[in-house]
């Protein structure tokens, strides 16, 4: 018998106000093609001797993780699963720059230790003294969805009762230039952001779960037929008809080649459904879909969809939300569908 899966708590540090749902009513709109996350004052959360060893990404990951553990009442999650496209890229850059500058003769230990992708998940586990399942997915734009799918399957099958899922990516000025040259970022109409999102998944709602996670589908080059089949399967397994879905949240980012995929698929797959966006608030990054999931979970918990989330002109705030579907793709290769429902929905 499969179990229900709930999102018990979720926290973010991004280009919006950190650790806050302020974006629901007063969103920030960063100017220019490149925006760094707004960091909280970490001195309030970390002792100086702990903070000095941690790069910004690690501080963000650790803080959001600690907060969702505290808020969900789960001090030792059964699994800690992280998605990250770039890992600790800032420390990696510092470490590699120093190696190049010093003729590969000197290695800076702290930056070296923090230059791998799986530093994040392991640091969270060490901090929580958690010896359970620990995994990191680094699959560019599908990193978060891989982590979410892993957690979802383990919870559904009863292998774990709780899973801390994180999605963390920073963007350095140097790496932004590289991605801009490659045509992935820096286009007109959108901006590059940073992601730090942690969420606690559990097989029980506890006190005040944000929403239910009904299903996750991850596909590689599915084509229209593949997407349709995945959608039908998701709907059937969750017992939620597509006509019951209130709106579809998509990963449109203002970049024509990216948005064209949604423009072609959505009218066929979700005819007449209101479309929501989130990257105009949080920006683009490899793990930005985690902020979409966080935003959708928050909307379901608060039972309202702010007007500024609706794609196109003339969005009107809507109250009473039962089911939201997230649809993201990365370079039209990996596509993901995530279905969330209000608790009791």
């Amino acid at each position: 018998m499969t179990r229900e899966v709930y999102i018990r708590a979720a926290r973010q540090i991004s280009v919006q106000l950190p650790l806050s749902e302020g974006w629901m009513d007063a969103p920030l709109y960063p100017e220019g093609p490149y925006a760094r996350a707004v960091d909280p004052d970490y001195r309030h959360y970390f002792a100086p001797n702990v903070a000095r060893r941690l790069g910004k990404l690690l501080k963000r990951a650790l803080l959001t993780s600690r907060l969702v553990m505290e808020e969900s009442g789960v001090s030792r999650p059964g699994a800690i699963i992280t998605g990250t496209g770039l890992g600790c890229i800032e420390n990696t850059g510092i470490f590699l720059d120093a190696l190049a500058r010093e003729g590969e003769g000197l290695l800076q230990p702290t930056h070296f230790m923090q230059s791998t992708h799986n530093t994040i998940s392991s640091l969270v586990a060490i901090d929580a003294r958690c010896h359970g399942y620990n995994s990191t997915y680094a699959h560019k734009g599908a990193s978060f969805e891989c982590a979410l799918l892993d957690a979802f399957l383990q919870l559904r099958e009863g292998r774990v009762e709780t899973a801390l899922v994180g999605a963390h990516d920073e963007m350095t000025p140097d790496y932004f230039v590289l991605l801009k040259r490659a045509g992935y970022l820096g286009h007109a109409g959108g901006f590059s952001g940073e992601t730090a999102a942690s969420m606690m998944l559990a097989d029980r709602p506890g006190d005040g779960a944000l929403c239910r996670l009904r299903g996750v589908e991850l596909l590689y080059r599915p084509g229209a037929g593949g997407l349709r089949r995945a959608l039908d399967s998701l709907s059937r397994e969750a017992g939620v008809g597509l006509d019951e879905v209130d709106a579809v949240m998509v990963g449109a980012n203002g970049h024509p080649p990216n948005d064209r995929v949604y423009g072609e698929a959505c009218p066929l797959l979700f005819p007449g459904k209101p479309l929501l966006r989130y990257k105009h608030l949080f920006g683009e990054s490899y793990t930005a879909p985690a902020l979409g999931a966080y935003a959708a979970a928050t909307c379901l918990h608060r039972q309202r969809l702010p007007a500024h989330l609706f794609a196109g002109e003339g969005g009107v705030e809507r109250r009473g939300v039962r089911h939201l579907l997230l649809y993201n793709h990365f370079e039209n290769k990996t596509h993901s569908l995530v279905l969330l429902s209000a608790c009791g929905g």
């Binding site: 100086p48 001797n49 000095r52 010093e102 000197l106 290695l107 800076q108 230990p109 702290t110 230790m113």
Partner: protein
């Protein structure tokens, strides 16, 4: 010597990311490890890298580091007598 001590304190603050510490708060003769700044073994590695990078002093014997990193003054004295940069 005083200038070298001050520079060394600034370099240690930077390389060990001791954001909250000011140079004048580090006592010249206070122990760097355990008490005082409370540094640990990873910091020792960072200090070894600092010595080589900034002063051209290569430490090959770990036991040497234990003696050398007793305090800022001991470090500065060693640097003054052995620096190659």
């Amino acid at each position: 010597m005083d200038e070298l001590i001050l520079n060394l304190k600034r370099e240690i603050i930077e390389v060990l990311n001791l954001e909250e510490v000011k140079p004048e708060e580090i006592e010249d003769d206070a122990p760097l490890f355990g008490e005082g700044l409370g540094l640990d073994s990873i910091d020792a590695l960072e200090l070894i890298v600092l010595m080589e990078k900034n002063y051209g002093i290569k430490l090959s014997d770990p036991a040497q580091g234990r003696e050398l990193f007793k305090s800022i003054r001991v470090m500065a004295t060693y640097i003054r007598d052995n620096r190659k940069k």
